[in-house]
Subunit: 158 residues, 2 copies
DNA sequence: CGGCATTGAGTTGTGCGCAACTCAATTGCG
DNA sequence: CGCAATTGAGTTGCGCACAACTCAATGCCG
């Protein structure tokens, strides 16, 4: 659509292009995950657990629902993950007194202290990518637009 | 590194920025996956299965190892996935006669025929993103560089 | 030629992501 | 007020990703 008629892409071309972009996004995500796995090993965190900790370090105590909004995750993923963080002694969970459906997650002293060791993580990652801040911001913006467009496109089908 | 000294970013800033870019990449990947899940439902394929089929549609018969190279996946992921594709009647597997360690995957008639129905997938995805070809190519290039940089950075630690 | 390292596929175990579901608490509406 | 609909956590089941492992086939080197 909206392409110049100079080179009409065939269906085959579209399939190949689709494979390339999907593969690129997939591979990039898994490559990032792989690097974080190495870097986070010292902290005893998985990559998704690190993301949850980032949210808690920034916002303090939060109900599970809010964490999910920040990370685009539902309780099916977060409940067991938070249980593992609780078992690791980093997070405490307790039902809200004002709304007993809601469960609040907050950092333990140990969980809060882990932040001091986590500050080196982004530096090591940034060093590995070789991307500068401008590039990171640009990629961030593009991915944000992509996600927004897709999220807007998916629900209508439901 | 290489930043102007006007605003020295604190550790906290780096952690927040890290969370933002990680989240963006993660969310984009999962948003893409979510859209493909919807679109691929008709074909009875998951997103990773679709990627494998794309490889087979393009290259024909391939040993598992080669598929893995294309998709950056190992046998731990591919073996059960291919078994499911085989159970679905789309793929056949047979040990190579010249090297009996190797297993070749090839399309069945049904698997090859599925391509005709798959050609609409990229169009529906592209329509949902609202991205034009130039933008897709640009994103593709950036993600490729990111993956290459990360893959170069990770193995050294092993 | 014999034996050892390497290679390719597969299995096992753990954690994540998501759909579909249950259950209790809360909201809202007649 | 009372009851149905909604909301928030949690559970279950399935598929994917990856580490660590097994096993057989191959390659290599003295």
């Amino acid at each position: 659509m909206t392409e110049k008629p100079t080179e009409p892409l065939t269906d085959q071309d579209f399939l190949r292009l689709d494979g390339q972009i999907c593969f690129a996004l997939n591979a990039a995500t898994r490559a990032v995950g792989g690097l974080y796995r190495v870097v986070l090993k010292d902290l005893g965190l998985t990559y998704p657990q690190y993301l949850v900790m980032l949210v808690l370090w920034e916002h303090g105590e939060l109900p599970v629902k809010q964490i999910g909004r920040h990370l685009r995750l539902d309780s099916g993923t977060l409940s067991p993950l938070l249980k593992r963080l609780e078992a690791a002694g980093l997070v405490a969970r307790e039902r809200s007194t004002e709304d007993e459906r809601s469960v609040h997650a907050r950092l333990t002293a140990e969980g809060a202290a882990l932040r001091d060791r986590a500050v080196e993580v982004p530096r090591r990652i940034a060093a590995a990518t070789g991307f500068d801040l401008a590039e990171i911001h640009d990629l961030h913006a593009r991915l944000g637009r992509l996600t927004a467009a897709l999220d807007a496109a998916v629900p209508p089908e439901a």
